[in-house]
């Protein structure tokens, strides 16, 4: 039963394999360029397993000892998981103990496959989702570990490689932009953060930004939903 589910899950994860290996490599090399041994990206990929947050965490690790700040920043960066969870309440039911790993490993990519894919006839749903999640995590851990190891053999000038994180978020932002007709949330996100950055400075703008975003989006709820119904 397990083999069957593994075989069914693997094809769905091939695109993720390419993406995670590449991004994982970049992440490992980035960590290496910050002076961390490959053990850091490897363990962080196994324990945190949230790609974008791991890039942010790399930054946090070189900007001082502020665990509370790190915790709250993580809550905000990963707030989207709350909504993945809400969408998966039903799907992750009745899968036994695997449920806990499914929740633990619910990165954007595993979520999007598990949320949208119906396993083929005769394949156990729980094991299928389990292997999708596990395979994706393996790709990411292997990629970032390799990057961390290869980073020390890299002979080209890596100055500027940290831009991979900016590039990642800009591309996610664009993907979301192209996929949506209504751009208000995205604009609020950028504008509120930019305003708070100017007001509070680079070190203290995240929490005010989040509050401002919540406030503006809450105020916009009526008009947002009203228009949606009208459109």
């Amino acid at each position: 039963m397990k083999m069957k589910a593994l075989k069914a899950a693997f094809p769905y994860t091939i695109p993720i394999c390419a993406g995670f290996t590449f991004l994982g490599l970049a992440y490992g090399i980035y960590m290496n360029s910050l002076g961390f041994s490959f053990v850091y990206p490897m363990l962080m990929s196994m324990t945190i397993f949230a790609g974008s947050m791991e890039f942010v965490a790399a930054n946090l690790l070189v900007s001082g000892f502020h665990p509370l700040h790190a915790f709250f920043l993580t809550l905000m960066v990963n707030a989207r998981h709350l909504f993945y969870g809400i969408s998966m309440l039903d799907k992750y039911k009745n899968v036994g103990k695997k449920k806990w790993y499914l929740i633990y490993g619910m990165c954007d990519e595993s979520f999007s496959i598990n949320c949208t894919t119906q396993p083929p006839e005769g394949v156990d749903k729980g094991w299928f989702m389990f292997f999708v999640t596990l395979l994706n995590q393996c790709y990411w851990v292997i990629g970032s570990t390799l990057g961390g190891i290869l980073g020390s053999f890299v002979t080209f000038n890596t100055k500027g490689i940290d831009f991979v994180m900016t590039a990642l978020f800009v591309v996610i932002f664009l993907d979301q932009w192209f996929s949506q007709k209504r751009h208000l949330p995205a604009i609020v996100g950028v504008a509120a953060s930019a305003v708070c950055l100017m007001l509070f400075g680079a070190d203290n703008f995240i929490i005010p930004s989040m509050l401002l975003i919540l406030a503006v989006l809450t105020l916009a709820k009526k008009s947002f939903e009203g228009k949606e119904m009208g459109s």
Partner: protein, 111 residues
């Protein structure tokens, strides 16, 4: 500033704890699949887009825009990513291309 190994482990632990919280909380709050409040559903729809906007700003927060090179390498590279992504819609190509463009800019042009 560099952290001791112990401090680094605590920092990573804080990030792990934060991530676990965001992933497990819905399953703890809505164990019996009670209907999700309307407000939470609304936030679920709009917040993911706003948060990515916040993250983009977070990435460029320390770029000096008032002194040379006035954020030009970042601006040009982001523009490159937008054009590449508009054109090909290929995530890896856009990320790889944008990063390489930025590296060339800071290593060869804006040295």
């Amino acid at each position: 500033m560099s952290l001791s190994t112990g401090q680094a482990v605590i920092m990573i632990g804080a990030v792990v704890l934060g991530t676990l919280t965001t992933r497990f909380l819905p399953f703890l709050i809505f164990p019996d699949n009670r209907p999700t409040p309307k407000y939470i559903q609304y936030l679920g729809k709009v917040l993911p887009f706003a948060v990515i906007g916040l993250l983009v700003v977070y990435c460029v927060k320390s770029v000096p825009v008032l002194t040379w090179p006035y954020g030009l390498p970042e601006g040009i590279a982001v523009l490159g990513i937008v054009l590449l992504h508009w054109w090909k819609r290929n995530m890896l190509l856009s990320i790889g291309g944008g990063t390489i463009l930025y590296m060339l800019l800071v290593q060869l042009v804006f040295v």
